[in-house]
């Protein structure tokens, strides 16, 4: 078990000790803070199941069965009393408790990625649940503890104590596992750290493909995973009269690794010509370390009066990344395309990992009751995200990269770029401020009529400014892809100057994206009868993005709702929503000011205007005109007195006015479930669900022969650079099927529970194209210009069974087992089971297992304390 963060503990102990508690009405604030609302695990997702034991007496002597929620769902039978016992003779304290302890055994493909994605299954002893409660019925004081442990990376413990209506203190510790891959074969040494080095047998920047393939084959299989270790402490209680406050601090240590990248320029464009050193470039799937600490502080103060409600919330979040960079070695020979040797080997690459950051947000909310059962609600929030990490130098190479060939003097002296003196500033000084204002008024002048209006303003102000300028060389820009691009292609180092690179059009500054959004909503509800409610809401959303393709986006939405309780005993909730978005002029290249073409001294190559940034018909889907329709119907239908049928029908249609880009999406689905509880001894349920989604996009391949040639500046769709012959579509179709059954029955001497859960997802990617010009390799074209990828699928089926029977008083045994099987196909990973090295590409993750089955068997001893 990991140690608590000492600073966090100290701060929270201080909070606890300093909390002055007086008896007053209080209420918890859990649903105001993000996270840590649920404590469970793969063994018991509820974190409570061993205590779910329906009481044979039921809920009432006055009627059979249980009642239903207002919408018609059956309440479960209440659980048998936990059996409060006096802590000591004459004590006001009583206690209850349950200990569930046992052994788990796994058979089969226990390392399958989808089996252990978020559960760290292990063979061995496990703590199913330890739950203990103490209550003082006279003072209202209580203590509750819950804990469970599958492994040292998958466990939780939470303690709550307090006094009803007065205060509450909570502390928790939990480890949450996340397995990303169980079939990773990283060939580098140092995985988990910041320096990935090549194994013996490989020479940085000068290895043969065969040697790399051998190293990949020799690499050991390992898991790529991380663990989130969270600790927290919170206190909440009445301060004075109607004032209630809370304070909480949580600390998360996130440790492990994840799959990452490593670019050394394209390989697809330079296929091997038979050289043992292969083609050119390098594409490396590496592994990065995860070593994060995040400390969150939440403070709240509220006053709830008869007329006024006041709420103040402060959130502070402090993220620290203990690994600032990832260095990796490149095994492949990167060489100039002009046929001369490179000035030096490209051996090293580098990533900046996420910077430390601080976040503060203060929100004030005020509500006042008004006449006509009305309410005025005002809210204002200010937030700021900041980081000022030291910047890494533009490259980490040594020596000289690039090449020299006649007039092409493209040498990259690393010493001019591998130092922080090569930066325009040495730290990021990045900052984004946010502002929120919200005003809402609502009235219910009669029982049949209500209306509300809401005005919301939100602004995100990006104050980050960075100029890519090297004071040492007087050049703008950067060294692209660790110097590899400049080593391969003439004119593509990534830098601009008034000399050799004066025709280079590269990004020379950061772009401070931001936006301000104003939203107005007017809505009304009308009850034409006691069982019917109709609603109509109009929303106008005015968005002003900064430095984007549009400076204005306007969306109008109409939403109609209908709630009905008059069709038999059913409750129906239906809604239909239509939205229409448009905006100002679409500028397909709004970034010119951040590129060197805007600098004095820029000279178009051969007098030709810069190559078009993109096609003019492109419409990014967050910026394009869009028409959207959504519909949903939820029906809860009580079937007799012992069961409920629930069904949902839903659909969404989006149409984007985009000749190039996302064109439309649609979703259609339904679910149906049946819950049955004929008595406290028996429960059952069945569930099915189907969903179908479609996404269509269009794109156009440029005519690369015209790059830096006349015509290359033409951005017109249908022009010489983006000809209609190169136009193509992708259509992604997905179908999801879900089903599940549960059944539980108490036979008296033994309780049986069964469950089955099934998921199947099928994905199909179709495409069509106007001519082979749309493809990188025209020889792959088919006469009809259409095709499809192999179908992807994901299937998972889990069958659970359990038997629980008493042994002696207060002691029972639970035998349980589950059989999980699944299959998977994702064409991204096709061929990876044969090799992970393709020319100058190295892949690390073989991908999830194509087929797996795992049997889990366990025995648990339940002891009521």
């Amino acid at each position: 078990m990991r140690a608590f963060n000492p600073i966090s503990v100290a701060v929270l102990l201080g909070l606890c000790v300093g909390w002055s508690v007086v008896a007053a009405a209080s209420d918890t604030s859990g649903t105001m803070r993000v996270g840590d609302m649920q404590y469970g695990n793969g063994l018991d997702p509820r974190g409570w199941t061993p205590l779910v034991d329906p009481d044979a007496d039921g809920m009432s002597w006055l009627h059979a069965g249980t009642l239903r929620t207002p919408s018609g769902a059956l309440y479960p039978y209440p659980n048998a009393p936990l059996g409060d016992k006096p802590l000591a003779p004459g004590s006001d304290w009583t206690y209850w408790g349950l200990l569930q302890l046992g052994y788990i055994h796994l058979n089969g493909d226990r390392n399958a990625e989808f089996f252990r994605q978020y559960t760290d299954w292990k063979n061995g002893a496990a703590l199913g649940l330890l739950a203990v409660g103490l209550n003082n019925t006279k003072t209202g004081s209580y203590v509750e503890f819950r804990g469970s442990r599958i492994s040292s990376d998958d466990q939780y413990y939470r303690l709550r104590a307090g006094r009803y209506g007065s205060y509450r203190v909570e502390a928790f510790y939990r480890d949450i596992p996340h397995t990303v891959s169980t079939a990773a074969y990283p060939l580098w040494n140092g995985v988990g750290g910041t320096n990935l080095t090549l194994p013996a047998g490989l020479t940085p920047g000068d290895s043969t493909v065969a040697a790399v393939q051998q190293a990949s084959r020799d690499a050991a299989r390992r898991e790529i995973k991380l663990t989130r270790t969270r600790t927290g402490l919170s206190v909440e209680g009445g301060l004075y009269r109607n004032w209630v406050g809370f304070a909480s601090i949580t600390n998360e240590e996130r440790n492990g690794d994840r799959l990452w990248g490593g670019p050394m320029f394209f390989n697809f464009a330079f296929p091997s010509t038979g050289s043992p050193y292969g083609g050119n470039g390098g594409v490396l799937e590496t592994v990065r370390p995860i070593d994060f600490t995040t400390t969150d502080v939440n403070l709240g103060l509220r006053n709830v009066g008869k007329l006024w409600h006041f709420n103040a919330l402060y959130t502070g979040s402090f993220f620290r990344d203990h690994k600032d960079y990832l260095n990796y070695q490149n095994p492949f020979l990167v060489s100039p395309v002009v046929g001369v040797p490179a000035a030096g080997l490209v051996t090293n690459g580098q990533f900046s990992l996420e910077p430390d950051n601080d976040y503060h947000n203060l929100r004030l909310e005020l509500s006042r009751e008004l006449t006509w059962r009305g309410e005025l609600s005002l809210a204002a929030a200010y937030g700021t995200m900041r980081q000022d990490d030291d910047l890494l130098p533009p490259v980490n190479c040594t020596g000289t990269l690039g090449f020299s060939a006649g007039p092409l003097q493209q040498l990259i002296p690393c010493a001019d770029w591998n130092t922080s003196a090569a930066l325009s500033k040495t730290s990021a000084n990045a900052r984004i401020d946010t502002h929120l204002l919200d005003a809402k008024v609502s009235f219910h002048p009669t029982n049949a009529f209500a209306w509300h209006a809401d005005l919301r303003y939100y602004q995100e102000d990006n104050k980050t400014r960075y100029l890519s300028y090297n004071p040492i060389t007087g050049q703008y820009g950067y060294i692209s892809e660790n110097g590899s691009q400049g080593t391969v292609v003439p004119g593509e180092v990534g830098i601009f100057d008034n000399g050799y690179y004066n025709t280079s059009n590269v990004q020379i500054a950061s772009i401070p994206f931001g936006y301000q959004d104003t939203l107005f909503e007017l809505g009304t509800d009308w009850n034409p009868s006691r069982s019917n409610t109709l609603g109509l809401t109009y929303t106008y959303d005015h968005d002003q993005p900064k430095h984007r393709e549009r400076s204005r986006l306007d969306e109008q939405r109409i939403k109609l709702t209908w709630s009905n309780r008059a069709v038999g005993r059913a409750t129906l909730r239906a809604s239909f929503e239509y939205g229409d978005r448009d905006g100002g002029k679409y500028n397909y290249d709004p970034y010119l000011a951040y590129y060197s073409a805007s600098l004095p001294g820029y000279v178009p190559a051969d007098g030709i205007a810069p190559t078009a940034f993109t096609v003019d018909a492109m419409r990014k889907y967050d910026m394009s005109d869009r028409k959207e329709a959504k519909a949903k119907l939820i029906v809860l239908y009580p079937l007799g007195e012992t069961s409920t049928l629930t069904s949902t029908f839903y659909g969404t249609r989006d149409h984007y006015d985009a000749p190039v880009g996302r064109q439309n999406t649609s979703t259609t689905g339904f679910t149906a479930s049946w819950d049955w509880q004929p008595g406290p001894q028996t429960t059952g349920s069945a569930y099915i669900g189907v969903e179908s989604t479609h996404l269509k996009l269009a794109n156009v391949a440029d005519n690369e022969a015209l790059v830096d040639e006349p015509g290359g500046e033409n951005a017109d769709l249908g022009g010489p650079f983006y000809p209609l012959e190169n136009y193509w579509h992708d259509l992604d179709n997905e179908r999801d099927y879900n089903a599940g059954i549960t059944f539980a029955h108490d036979f008296g001497r033994v309780r049986l529970d069964l469950g089955w859960n099934y998921t199947q997802s099928l994905s199909k990617m179709n495409y069509d194209y106007a001519s082979p010009g749309a493809l990188t390799h025209p020889e792959a074209a088919t006469p009809d210009g259409v095709g499809a990828f192999p179908n992807n699928h994901y299937r998972s089926s889990t069958f659970n069974a359990g038997l629980t029977f008493p042994v002696v008083r207060n002691v029972s045994v639970r035998l349980f087992g589950s059989y999980q099987s699944g299959s998977f196909l994702d064409w991204h990973y096709l061929g990876f089971d044969d090799t992970l090295v393709y020319d100058h590409r190295i892949y690390t993750d073989e991908g999830p297992q194509l087929h797996y089955s795992v049997t889990t068997l366990g025995v648990m001893l339940n002891v009521k304390l």
Partner: protein, 372 residues
């Protein structure tokens, strides 16, 4: 397994629904009594019942008014919990409080079950100094009319299916104690507008959940009562750990109402995501516009058939926006897969992300294209 066509599945669902309706109607007919039910126990009149009920037991006002730290009250005949008063029942305006003892005389088992909940435990503590009070009536309203005629509809504030009490009345009762804080924005929230009552999600009459007096054993099961389609998405290939019990819907959403339509706890989608994914918060030297704008541009937090919750397969996800000159805008086809004759890194494995790994933003001075 061969996939079922959608049309077949829809037809099956409709058949099931129709069958259920038929069954329900038969069941309802079977349960109809042959004659109108007698009010109260057979052979007893309402006055008999009223006479047999125990005497009321009031006096909490006196204790409260004796506490110098509390505001004096005289707005109800009993205050079972410090801040609670007995709500008026619009459907029985003349009703008077009768006290918990009276209620328990009939609702004995309800009392036993409710005693295990935080809710009633709180009431008990609030009245510990003055004896058992009108705990039941603090929620259900004054009970005299109900005690006189238990079957009279609307004589008590009901929180269950078929009760005559309007959902607004029900929620007003709960908000009598639970206003403000996490429920500051209940009014105008989507759940309020759709006529939900607190007791659609909560059942303070029995302890069915570890906390929150929920109507089902866990938060996620409660939400799935209506949002089955959303819960089903968590079964997909990539999902957040809800099925594994590590998260709840309420980790991100506050069902009681917030400043956002999807009931997010923070000001924006991204701020909610940053709470757990703080490394994505930055700000970075080089930002990726759609990432900073809204995580949902690329991710579906409820589940996806693609890796890492992506809304479309790579590289198509990126190609929806990136038509820029040269390598982004080529059509990828199966011959570019790892099993094809012309493997292409733009399609294989992590696709675009193999090179543009810092796609959420780069803090590297050479990272404007998220390579570094």
């Amino acid at each position: 397994m061969r996939a079922l066509p959608l049309s077949f599945a829809v037809a099956l669902s409709l058949l099931l629904a129709m069958g259920g309706l038929l069954l329900a109607s038969r069941s309802a007919q079977a349960q109809q009594p042959s004659s109108p039910p007698a009010s109260g126990s057979a052979g007893l009149t309402q006055s008999d019942i009223a006479r047999m009920l125990p005497a009321t037991d009031m006096g909490a006002d006196a204790a409260r008014n004796a506490d110098p730290h509390l505001r004096p009250v005289n707005d109800s005949p009993a205050t079972p919990f410090d801040a609670a008063s007995i709500p008026a029942n619009p459907l029985a305006p003349e009703a008077q409080a009768v006290g918990a003892k009276t209620c328990i005389a009939c609702h004995a088992l309800e009392n036993v079950q409710a005693s295990h909940t935080l809710h009633v435990a709180s009431f008990r503590v609030g009245t510990a100094r003055t004896g058992p009070q009108a705990a039941c009536e603090a929620c259900h309203g004054p009970g005299s009319e109900h005690a006189k005629n238990p079957t009279a509809r609307g004589s008590i504030i009901g929180f269950t299916h078929g009760a005559d009490t309007a959902p607004e009345t029900q929620t007003t009762v709960c908000l009598g104690c639970h206003a403000g804080g996490a429920r500051q924005h209940w009014l105008g929230s989507v759940h309020q507008e759709r006529g939900l009552s607190c007791s659609d999600c909560h059942n303070p009459m029995a302890r069915m959940s570890p906390e929150g007096v929920l109507a089902k054993p866990s938060i996620n099961e409660v939400c799935a009562t209506c949002h089955q389609d959303i819960l089903a998405k968590f079964n997909r290939r990539s999902h957040m750990p809800l099925p594994e019990g590590q998260m709840a819907c309420t980790d991100c959403h506050n069902p009681h109402g917030t400043l956002t339509r999807p009931l997010l706890k923070t000001d924006t989608v991204n701020e909610t995501c940053y709470t757990c994914h703080a490394e994505k918060r930055g700000p970075f030297l080089f930002e990726h516009a759609p990432v900073r704008e809204n995580c949902l541009n690329c991710h579906d937090p409820h589940g996806s058939n693609q890796q890492t919750l992506l809304v479309a397969p790579l590289p198509m996800l990126c190609q929806q926006c990136h038509t820029m000159t040269r390598h982004p805008n080529d059509l990828q086809v199966p011959t570019n897969l790892g099993t094809g004759p012309t493997p292409d890194e733009r399609l294989m494995g992590r696709s675009c992300l193999t090179c543009h790994a810092n796609v959420h933003g780069s803090n590297n001075p050479s990272g404007s294209r998220f390579h570094k």
